[in-house]
């Protein structure tokens, strides 16, 4: 695996750990800038949906708005409620913030631009994202506030129940990659490596082979990020800000930073695994700049869809949310994995996998749409309207002429 060793790049032979240090600094800088940019973009795009203009005062077209917010948050006093559980309250932001940055490591921005090309990149992502949940629950419990506790419990329930379908669906993809790797007797060891997955998609992105996989992965990512329509844990109208209601100042911005960083990273992984990442249309031998542009283009397209869903979709109730995951997404992902395994075991062509997955996806959409239709049958026009004429009633007719 070609891997940039900064020590050579900079022409001076640096020991390993300095090299690692430089990469860490690079990650932190890039992520904070990205978070600020995403916050600004979201506010602008949401504004367009809501027929308003969004921030315009600070800087050209309001671009420095999120920088100004960050400055305000830095100078704001971060308060801790006296009855809060001191250490749990103070450590929570770090537990929520650090795992999200760790996810950055295995992501292949281009063929060679990877912080560390981990063999088990994809599994590593899920392993580390789970820890983010610990931070959330610590925040909810630590701030000794009923709203925070409720928000944390909702966040934990939601994250657990949506991580499962995501995992299973990514197993489906890994099966395909592993089959390709072992076709000429090689070991399927690299199947879980994100870069290998990207390499496999020179001709057909996996979204064509696994459309259901992409859909479930994105729904799971939405739930993982607590974004509408799954933003129960931080629903303003019920739990007033969820688990970070007692935080202010820099601690509060950690949670916000973690959320937007996780947004970018999950979407990048999604686009790498399903949309071909840096590889799809132009293949490997094209310049690094173009490959980075490709990844960023695909990511921003998916992010735009996420912002769009925030403006238009209301919030699901907690029990509907759980039912949707356990009763709909999980069975579908299990069936998906089984179908892949059976087809690959009996040596069927990959196009069969694509068709079965497409069929499953259409079935899922049909199911959801059908349920909504039954719910809303007669919803649109469920009113009956009487003409506004005083109705004739005979004095002693108990039923009253209607």
């Amino acid at each position: 695996m070609p891997e940039i060793v900064l020590s050579e790049f900079a022409g001076l032979s640096l020991p390993d750990w300095i090299d690692a240090l430089i990469r860490i600094v690079f990650i932190v800088a890039l992520m904070t800038v990205n978070a600020l940019a995403l916050i600004y973009l979201e506010r602008k795009i949401l504004a367009r949906f809501q027929q308003r203009v969004g921030p315009t005062r600070t800087g050209p077209f309001g671009m420095l708005q999120s920088a100004a917010d960050a400055l305000k948050l830095l100078t704001k006093e971060d308060v801790r409620p006296t009855s809060a559980d001191r250490w749990v309250f103070e450590l929570a932001p770090y537990f929520a913030f650090v795992p999200v940055f760790l996810v950055f490591i295995p992501i292949p921005w281009t063929e060679t631009w990877i912080v560390r090309d981990l063999e088990l990149g994809f599994l590593y992502v899920f392993g580390v994202l789970g820890l983010n949940l610990v931070g959330v629950v610590m925040a909810g419990w630590g701030s000794d506030n009923k709203y925070a506790l409720l928000g944390a419990v909702r966040a934990a329930a939601q994250a657990i129940s949506y991580e499962l379908p995501m995992l299973l669906v990514s197993v489906g993809v890994i099966l395909i990659v592993a089959a390709r790797l072992t076709v000429d007797g090689g070991s399927a060891f690299g199947a879980v490596n994100l870069n290998v997955i990207a390499l496999e998609q020179t001709t057909t992105p996996f979204i064509l082979l696994q459309p259901l996989g992409f859909a479930i992965f994105m729904i799971g990512a939405l739930a993982e990020l607590h974004r509408p329509p799954f933003d129960m844990p931080i629903a303003e109208s019920e739990v007033v800000g969820g688990y970070f209601v007692e935080y202010s100042g820099i601690r509060w911005s950690f949670f916000f930073l973690a959320e937007y960083t996780a947004l970018l990273l999950l979407v990048v992984i999604g686009s790498t695994v399903f949309l071909g990442g840096w590889n799809f249309p132009f293949g490997e031998d094209v310049g690094l700049g173009l490959q980075v542009l490709l990844t960023i283009a695909k990511t921003s397209a998916v992010i735009f869809i996420l912002f769009w869903s925030r403006a238009v979709l209301p919030r699901l109730r907690i029990d509907q949310l759980m039912a949707f995951s356990w009763k709909v997404l999980l069975p579908f992902s299990i069936v998906q994995v089984l179908a892949n395994a059976i087809i690959l075991a009996y040596g069927g062509g990959e196009w069969i996998i694509g068709i079965t997955s497409l069929a499953l996806l259409l079935l899922l959409i049909g199911l959801v749409y059908g349920r909504a239709r039954t719910l809303s049958r007669g919803a649109g026009r469920s009113l009956n309207k009487q003409p506004a004429r005083p109705r004739l009633i005979t004095a002693h007719d108990p039923a009253g002429g209607d």
């Binding site: 109208s237 019920e238 209301p314 009113l383």
Partner: protein
């Protein structure tokens, strides 16, 4: 959780792991209580076991103050009870005194009053659409779309009465001053904009699957319960009872227009939303017809009104159909220049009393939506 509400009984193993009931306090400062209203939910996990509501934060003793003002003095107070439907309240108060004193408002004034009152109903329902959308989860989209139309109506009201919210434009016997010259043309232009706004809101919210699954069969209230709680207005009509005072107990000139009274089928949150949406369209129809039939010129104030109004001793319970329900003024006069007793029957007060019946057994997220669908205005609840 430092202090648990439940005292620790002697150790009983299996009961130990029941989830303990938590008392969640919503209000008086809470984003979704639409004003200063406190609701304590006894919650087991997400299920709401019981609700206790605390009101009275906005009580200003209006009825007591009115007993010391002369009949015309308390008009300003009526704007401040239900500030989202100020024209309707003023109209009820003026009608009450006019019937008590036997005064008749001229034809043209009655038309202008009706037009402004119906536009005020549309204004109030737009406010409901915005607030309800935010409760359900439309992050601000429904709110800004609804307020775009509201702003237009408020500009029109400001042109007519000089103020955006507390109009104080009606007088006993007619209007304060002549409506501005292009009143009718502007009103027609406004109707077209409002119609487009209603279509936008309808398209955004009505057939949204998540909205339907969130609101259908939530907070259902049967017709008998609604009537027993004294619930009136869109809530009662959503429960299937076609009681609309403009039809059943006609007042003013409503019998000259043809329109329809929408009633829902199941009395749940979704039907209330649909009834209010339909009512906005019906109000547009009424205003359009009123603008056509309105006499082009004529007096706007009854003649021969005494300087100090002393209605003969007697009493009247004047009630009209406000956006939230039946708004009544029970006025008792003892022949002096001050009302002996003035009681305001506010619809939100009684609609709110049925909240506990609707919310028990639902989820926390439902409690917020049900409170939003009841559409209360706290100033009117506490008077």
């Amino acid at each position: 959780m430092t202090q648990a509400q439940v005292t620790v009984e002697p150790v009983v193993v299996e009961e130990e792991f029941d989830t303990v009931d938590m008392n969640i306090n919503m209000g008086p400062q809470h984003p979704s209580t639409h004003g200063v209203f406190r609701m304590v939910l006894t919650v087991d996990g997400e299920q709401v076991k019981d609700v206790t509501s605390y009101i009275g934060y906005m009580h200003r003793g209006g009825e007591k103050l009115t007993e010391n003002l002369d009949y015309r003095g308390a008009l300003g107070y009526q704007d401040r009870t239900d500030y989202l439907a100020a024209f309707n309240n003023e109209w009820v108060y003026c009608n009450a005194i006019e019937r008590l004193a036997g005064i008749e408002a001229p034809e043209r004034a009655e038309y202008v009053r009706l037009i402004l009152a119906e536009l005020n109903r549309i204004l109030s329902h737009f406010m409901f659409m915005g607030a309800f959308g935010t409760d359900v989860g439309f992050f601000g989209t429904a709110f800004t779309w609804a307020f775009k139309e509201r702003e237009r109506i408020q500009d029109f009201f400001e042109a007519v009465s000089g103020d955006r919210l507390m109009y104080n434009y009606f007088r006993v016997g007619g209007l304060a001053w002549e409506p501005y010259p292009t009143f009718v043309e502007d009103a027609r232009w406004l109707l077209r904009q409002v119609e487009a706004g209603i279509a936008d809101i309808d398209e955004l919210m009505t057939n949204n699957e998540i909205m339907i699954s969130r609101c259908r069969d939530v907070g259902r209230m049967s017709a008998e319960d609604a009537i027993s709680y004294g619930v009136t207005g869109p809530l009662l009509r959503a429960a299937g009872v076609p009681l609309d005072l403009r039809v059943d107990e006609p007042y003013s000139i409503y019998d000259r227009f043809d329109w329809e009274v929408p009633t829902g089928l199941r009395g749940d949150v979704y039907d209330r939303y649909l009834v209010r949406l339909e009512e906005m369209r019906q109000s547009v129809r009424i205003v359009a017809q009123a603008l056509d039939q309105m006499p082009a010129s004529g007096p706007i104030m009854a003649e021969g009104l005494p300087k100090v109004l002393k209605p003969p001793p007697g009493e009247i319970y004047m009630r009209q159909e406000n956006p939230r329900g039946e708004y009544g003024i029970y006025m008792v006069s003892d022949g002096s220049d001050k009302p002996w007793r003035m009681k305001v029957r506010s619809p939100s007060f009684h609609n709110l009393s049925s909240l506990r019946h609707q919310v028990r057994g639902s989820y926390i997220a439902d409690a917020v939506i049900i409170l939003g669908s009841v559409d209360i205005v706290l100033c009117e609840v506490d008077r």
